[in-house]
Structures are given as structure tokens and as C-alpha cells.
Amino acid sequence: MDVNLETTLDKEIIEFIAACMQREHPRSYLISVLGKVQEKYGYLSRQHMHAVAHIMRIPTSRVYGVATFYHFFRLRPRGKHQISICMGTACFVKGADRVLEAFKSELGIDIGETTKDGIFSLDNTRCLGVCGLAPVVTINNQVYSQVTPQQVPELINKTLGR
């Protein structure tokens, strides 16, 4: 785990880090850097975090500390299709919890998990600002509004292109 660290990351990200390091308070950009890494790879692997720590000269423990503190960062790869249920207040009031239950039982996974075949992962978000259409579910950035538990199997099939 030493010489190869820099090749772990994409060139674009290395350049981004280099640019950050030129600025005032370089290490304050850690969160942005991790954001870029996640944007590129979908999640933060141990190697990624190691590499970032190495290049930015920040203790790995601190990088790991930051990565685990913020909900936005994922430490495991996500499924091919991301299903995300809004659990904001308005959606909750309109029955999002029952929609969530339906997804959980249909897919056999809990929040934050990915199906064994790597096809679906299940997440929750907070208010998307479309409370008027509550409850809302986003599947791969497509927003579905006023979702009922009945529609769950249909939505899954639709995502699979069936």
C-alpha cells in the first residue's frame, strides 16, 4: 500500500486534489474530494480513502472519520438501480412508511442494503421538496409521485424493463 496509491484514483481526481492543495487551507477540501471520488466510483473503498489520505497528507483515520460521519458517503458499492424513498415529514404523513415496508419485503433488503444480485439498492432521502406529490419515490433519478404500496411490484418490474 504505498507506491501504487496514486494510481488507485482517476487522473481527473488527482488533478482536482492538486488544485485544492494550491489553495488556502488545502485540507479543508477533504469533503469535496471525497464527494468527487464517490461521484466517480459510486462509493468510497478503503483503497480510495487511503489514497486520498496519502495525497492530501491527512491521517487515514481522519479521512475514515469524515467518511463515516456524513450520511452522504457510502462505503459499499451500490446496486445497478437505486431506489430511494422519501422519508421526509410530509411523505411520512402520507404513508411513506408503508411504501417502504412494501419495498423492503418485495426486495428482501433493508435500508442501506443491496440485493445479492447487485441489481437494487434501497435508500431513504429526506424531503425532496415535492411534498405536494407525497409520498415520493425516486428510482435512478426518476421521480414517482403519490406512490401506493400496491404499485411497488409494478415499479420494480418497470425498472427491470419488464
Partner: protein
């Protein structure tokens, strides 16, 4: 004019000169919303369809304009059509199919498509819509008195009352600073004329001329504030906006948020230019102090005093920060402002930076708001290009730059000390205050942190004067507040009202009342830090102190309407689950205490509550409030405590009778099929997401309880009322 104002006018001229498609110069405008909510509702497809048709028509005099959210979220996507010399028309819930019709019939043919018009029921049956506006909300009496007089005079003049709908509006802000007296403002649609009068004789003259002879009585016309005038001119849907006063959202839904030109054309950056010309930072602070503005991020700290304490700090390096970490899980006011009017935030921050002597600002925005981030980045770049940000702005000594920093989904980072740590790239765990950020902030330097909405009020205060601003609202809460109205409400969306407006006005007059004609049970304000207000306190005015008095808080602006089907225990548990999950774990009372409270609530909703649990919740809650390190822990018990205060009997039902009165808590209910009533139509079995209903066609069905997830589908599906919820 001084040299800085000259420089500004030059910038303005340059921007406006190459403006081909601003509102004023374009003959026909199609306005399509483009905020996250609008896009989710399908606005992008609608826009593309318009673009297609426009291209096909070959017309060069029609323009499509994107705007932010107007707040009518339950009716989106909304499309506005502005034909020259026509009343602006807004269409609701526009789909790709409807675009064709609107384009052919209205845009090309000039005939509005009436069945698709927004709020057609409320405003379009009348020949006129008249709004009486008082001087300020503290004093709505005079407006209602005049409204009565107006009706009397209509009778006297024989104008049929049914042709006119009249309202008492909020303070429309019709009165520029310095205007006094007992006059009242009267706004008449569709002519968009504002009259101002103080005697019955004048009223009679107006009625005779306007409503009988149908001639505008120019001698009684009021000089109105350009801000308000623009709003009046651009909005067709009167009813929804009637009790609103739009300061923060003054540009949302009106200007193109990606166009500096549009912002500048609407008075943007003029306040900054004037202030720089004047060269007196202290005057700016004085104005903010006089305006009485209090922070909109939740705590309501007086903004002017905060700034003053930063100025009093001898450290020459200072920072301003915009808190755009909007964490309340049921609210989106700030996002809407960022997406709909990013320039006003930049403008406000520049004014603040000049006032306190900062040359660097940060906007801390949630990574979950990609559209807001993109718009902000773009806005900052445009300002830099135009010389409105950067070194020596407009040739003055003032230099100011803004950097965006992204939050990464931690509610606690909205707390100011945590936010600063997060900006420096650390875990956002709050620190003990004092020292306050204005004493020791970012990188040890004094820092002023304000909320998005607070910043966006600054240009208005500077532009229109502290006195003008201080007239809106109540004695101790000045100005307006934006709320994200949601839950069981007919018109969910963003509303901006003067402080002191009652919950009743917001819910019934603006929100259209409780959905499906059900009964109001409570209103939740302040999200996870706030509390519920029961229906019998619905006449509570919304201002910082009144809300605190009933055990809730103003908070950042979430407002959730609950009806008689909502379980208050489940609601309290929902919020506590959230705060428990978001507790940063630094201090014991919050980390352990909220978990214990949650365990008790879980027990109660599962039918295993013990009689002493309620007192225990109260004791624990009060202890956590008193001993937690930061605002998260200090407010986390509020939803539970306020629910206990007003709805204790509902908790008791769960604990003593093991029953959920609203049948919401799934562990306390079961779905059973009544074999007497079931005809075996199989519908429920087909609707069950987990296939736990067994039975053959035409024979009574049975729910396998072990596998049932209590989704209620069967209950909703059965047409023979054979499914019981027990």
C-alpha cells in the same frame, strides 16, 4: 452621481443592452418553472414540448423563460403565458398533451384554454377581484372596516356584489417608507390598479368611476412600490397570493435564476452600488438593527446585533457564511430560494461582508441539492465576470469573493459551530458556545453566519429602508417568513406571510383547508426541533414569541398539517427517530437520552407501554433539554413533549388500552377478512404486495397474519367492506 454608481450603471447598461429576451422587450412569454419540484412534476418534458412546437411554428417573437418555484407545488408543473396586453394566465398541472392545446389555442390563437387555468374556480367567476391592504398586519382592522364600507357602497351604487370578490390582504407593502396616515390601499384585478384613499367620498368616487363607468380613476391611484407592482403584474393567481407578502420570494418564479441580467433588470445589486458609493459600513449595520430583522434559521437571533459584535472584534480578518444546510426533513424553503433567486443571496452576503469588513464568504449548501449548487456556481461566475464579485468591486475599495462548500448530509452540520468545522473539512461535531462564531469562528476569525432567508432579506432592507421593513410584521418579529406548507392540506407549497399572520389564515385562506374535507387535528412547526400545535390554538399568530409560548418554535419554516387520521404518538416517534439518528454522539444526554426515549416510544407503539412510561418520557425529555451540548439535543425532545402536553390521552390509549385511536400504529392493528361479507372476488389477494391473502375464487379469503406487513392495501381495495381493521 458618484463614480461607483456610474460604474454600476455602466455594468447594468452592458448587461441589459444585449438582452434580447427579457420580459419587457419580448412580445410573448411562456414561463415554465424549473425548480427541483417542478422538474419532478414533469416541467422539463413540458418545456421541451414547448420548444419543439415553437421551433416548428417558426415564430421569433415567442420566448420560453425558465423561473424558480412559485410555491404552488401541488399544482405543478405550472406554465405562465404572457401575451401583450393580456391578463397573465397560469396553467396548472400541465402535461405534454396539454402543451399542444395551450400552444395552438392560446399562444398562437390568443384564446386562453379556460379548463386548464390555475385557480379558475376562485378568481375567474368574478369580473373583479379586489384586495384591501392595510398599513401593516398589526392593524388589519382598518382594511376590514373598509371592506365592509366597500360592500355598502356597492349596494348604493347598484353594482352587483356577486361580480366582485373582495379580500383583506396582508400588508401588500404598498406604502413606501415615510407615508403615513389612515389611508387604505385597494388593489383591483384584472386591471392591476391600486387605489389609495381615506374617506368614504373618495371610495364612492372610485366605485362610480371604476365599477360603473369602467374607467380608471387616475387621480386616486396610488404610487406603489416597484417590487410590489412587479409582483402584481406578473401574477394571475390572486387567491393564493392574497394573504402573502413576498420579500424573500420576491423574485422566485419571476426572474430567470440563471440570468444576472434579469436580476439586475429587477433592481438587483443596486443596493450594493449605493452602499459602496456611500462608503459607510456602519450605516448598513444600523439599518439592519433598525429593521428588527431576526435570523430565519430557527433561533431568531437579531441579525444586526450579530453583525455589530463581529465588527466590534478587533481581528481584521472576518468571514461571512450562508447557512444553506437546510436540514428539517419536511421543508425546502431555502432550496427554493437558492434555485429561484441565487443572486439575492450573493447580493445580501456582499452587503453583509461590506458592513462587517469581510472579504471572503462561504455558502455551505447540501450536496443533496444539485440544482441549487449548479445555479449558485453559475450565479457566482456571472457576478465575477460582471465585476460584482472579486477585487475592487465597481471600482471601490471593497473586495469580496464567495466560495461554495458542500455539506454531506448531516443534520447537525446546520448548527453553526458544526458547520464551521465541516467547512474546514472535519467531522461536524458541535462545540460549546461561547465562544460564539463572531468571537472565534472560521479558522479562529470572527464569522457571521446567517440563514439563506436572512441573507435574502438584506437587499430588500437596504433598498427600501429599515423603517419600511419594520412596518411589516409584529412588534418583536419583523418582516415575513416563508413556510413549506405540507401534509394534509389542499394547496401544499411555499407560502410567505407577514409575521403575525395566524395559523388559521395560512391553513384556510392560503392553504385552502384540510385535504378531503377532514378535520384539522394539529399543525406541526419547526420540524424535529419544534412541536405540534393543536387545532384549538389555530388562531395563534406566527411569530417567534407566540409560537414559543405554545410550546413550538418558528424553526426554519416547516409546517405540516395533520388531520384526525394522524397518530400523534407515531408523529412524535417519527421526529425522534430522525434526531436520534442525527445525533452526533458527542455528549451523553443527547446520544443516550434520545435513544432511551425512542425505545420507550417504540414500546408504546408496539403495545408494550407501561403506565410510568409517560412520566419517564417527560422527565427524560426535560433533562436532555437542559443538559445537551448543542441545539440538536436541546430541542430533540420538543416534538415528544409537546405531543404529551396536548395529546396525552392518545398516549394513554396506547399504553393502557393497547390501542391506537387512529389505527396508524401497525403493531396495534390487524387486518382480518370477515367471512360473512367476503364474496371471494380475489381483488385483495391480487393487491397484497406480499401475497399473504389466501383463498380461492368465490370463497371467503383469509389473511395470513404472520406474513402481513399491514400495508392496508386489502382494506383499501375491498369493495364489499369485508376487510376489517381491528
Amino acid at each position: 452621481m458618484g463614480k461607483i454608481l456610474d460604474a454600476f450603471m455602466a455594468v447594468k447598461k452592458r448587461l441589459l443592452d444585449d438582452a434580447a429576451n427579457t420580459l419587457s422587450s419580448a412580445p410573448i412569454i411562456i414561463q415554465v418553472g424549473s425548480a427541483t419540484c417542478e422538474n419532478a412534476a414533469g416541467a422539463q418534458e413540458v418545456r421541451r414540448e414547448f420548444e419543439k412546437l415553437l421551433l416548428a411554428s417558426g415564430r421569433a417573437d415567442i420566448f420560453i423563460k425558465q423561473t424558480g418555484c412559485t410555491g404552488r407545488c401541488s399544482r405543478e408543473p405550472i406554465v405562465g403565458v404572457y401575451l401583450p396586453d393580456q391578463f397573465p394566465i397560469k396553467y396548472e398541472k400541465v402535461t405534454v398533451e396539454k402543451v399542444q392545446q395551450i400552444f395552438q389555442q392560446h399562444i398562437l390563437g390568443g384564446q386562453p384554454v379556460v379548463p386548464l387555468i390555475l385557480d379558475k374556480k376562485t378568481s375567474r367567476m368574478y369580473s373583479w377581484v379586489v384586495t384591501f391592504a392595510s398599513l401593516s398586519t398589526v392593524e388589519t382592522d382598518s382594511a376590514s372596516r373598509w371592506n365592509e364600507k366597500f360592500k355598502e357602497h356597492l349596494k348604493i351604487h347598484g353594482v352587483p356584489e356577486e361580480t366582485i370578490r373582495s379580500f383583506i390582504g396582508g400588508c401588500l407593502g404598498l406604502y413606501p417608507a415615510g407615508k403615513e396616515g389612515n389611508k387604505v390601499g385597494m388593489l383591483v384585478f384584472p386591471e392591476k390598479v391600486v387605489y389609495e384613499f381615506g374617506t368614504e367620498e373618495d371610495l364612492a368616487r372610485i366605485i362610480q368611476s371604476h365599477f360603473k363607468d369602467r374607467k380608471t380613476l387616475t387621480s386616486m391611484q396610488a404610487e406603489i412600490d416597484p417590487l410590489i407592482k412587479r409582483f402584481i403584474t406578473l401574477y394571475g393567481d390572486v387567491a393564493f397570493f392574497n394573504k402573502q407578502t413576498r420579500l424573500t420570494l420576491r423574485n422566485s418564479g419571476i426572474i430567470d435564476p440563471e440570468s444576472l441580467k434579469d436580476y439586475v433588470a429587477n433592481d438587483g445589486f443596486e443596493a450594493l452600488a449605493r452602499v459602496l458609493e456611500n462608503g459607510q459600513p456602519q450605516a448598513v449595520i444600523q439599518a439592519v438593527i433598525l429593521s428588527g430583522l431576526r435570523g430565519r434559521g430557527g433561533a431568531g437571533f437579531p441579525t444586526g446585533s450579530k453583525w455589530q459584535s463581529a465588527v466590534d472584534n478587533p481581528d481584521p480578518v472576518k468571514y461571512v457564511v450562508c447557512n444553506a444546510d437546510e436540514g428539517d426533513p419536511g421543508a425546502y424553503m431555502d432550496r427554493s430560494t437558492l434555485e429561484g433567486d441565487p443572486f439575492s443571496i450573493i447580493h445580501g452576503m456582499a452587503l453583509g461582508a461590506f458592513a462587517i469588513g469581510a472579504s471572503k464568504g462561504y455558502i455551505y449548501v447540501r450536496a443533496e441539492y444539485p440544482l441549487a449548487i449548479r445555479r449558485l456556481e453559475y450565479a457566482i461566475r456571472q457576478c465575477e465576470d460582471a465585476g460584482l464579485l472579486g477585487k475592487n468591486i465597481l471600482g471601490s475599495d471593497f473586495s469580496f469573493e464567495i466560495e461554495l462548500r458542500l455539506g454531506a448530509g448531516a443534520f447537525v452540520c446546520g448548527e453553526e459551530t458544526a458547520l464551521m468545522l465541516s467547512i474546514t473539512g472535519r467531522r461536524g461535531q458541535p462545540m460549546i458556545r461561547p465562544p460564539y462564531p463572531t468571537e472565534r469562528g472560521l479558522w479562529g476569525h470572527p464569522t457571521v453566519i446567517n440563514n439563506v432567508e436572512t441573507w435574502s432579506n438584506i437587499p430588500v432592507i437596504i433598498r427600501h429602508g429599515a423603517e419600511w421593513f419594520a412596518r411589516i410584521g409584529t412588534e418583536k418579529s419583523k418582516g415575513t417568513k416563508v413556510f413549506a406548507l405540507a401534509g394534509k392540506i389542499v394547496n401544499s407549497g411555499l407560502v410567505e406571510v407577514p409575521m403575525g399572520t395566524t395559523l388559521r389564515e395560512i391553513i384556510y385562506d392560503i392553504g385552502g383547508g384540510v385535504e378531503k374535507g377532514r378535520t384539522l387535528k394539529a399543525v406541526q412547526t419547526g420540524g424535529p426541533s419544534g412541536g405540534c400545535i393543536p387545532a384549538d390554538l389555530i388562531d395563534t399568530p406566527v411569530d417567534y414569541d407566540s409560537l414559543a409560548a405554545v410550546g413550538s418554535i418558528m424553526g426554519s419554516g416547516g409546517m405540516i398539517v395533520l388531520d384526525d387520521e394522524d397518530c400523534m404518538v407515531a408523529m412524535a416517534k417519527f421526529f425522534l427517530e430522525f434526531t436520534q439518528d442525527e445525533s452526533c454522539g458527542k455528549c451523553v444526554p443527547c446520544r443516550e437520552g434520545t435513544l432511551r426515549m425512542l425505545e420507550i416510544l417504540e414500546r408504546i407503539t408496539a403495545g408494550q407501554g407501561m403506565p410510568e412510561d409517560l412520566d419517564k418520557l417527560e422527565r427524560l425529555g426535560n433533562l436532555i433539554k437542559k443538559t445537551s451540548l448543542c441545539g440538536l439535543g436541546q430541542s430533540a425532545p420538543n416534538p415528544v413533549l409537546s405531543a404529551l402536553r396536548y395529546f396525552r390521552s392518545e398516549f394513554e390509549a396506547h399504553v393502557l388500552e393497547k390501542c391506537c385511536p387512529t389505527r396508524k400504529c401497525s403493531k396495534l392493528i390487524r387486518y382480518e377478512i370477515n367471512p360473512e361479507k367476503c364474496i371471494g372476488c380475489t381483488l385483495c389477494a391480487r393487491q397484497c404486495p406480499v401475497n399473504c391473502i389466501e383463498g380461492t375464487a368465490r370463497k371467503p379469503h383469509l389473511v395470513i397474519q404472520e406474513r402481513c406487513i399491514k400495508c392496508g392495501n386489502c382494506f383499501a381495495a375491498c369493495k364489499f367492506e369485508a376487510v376489517d381493521r381491528v
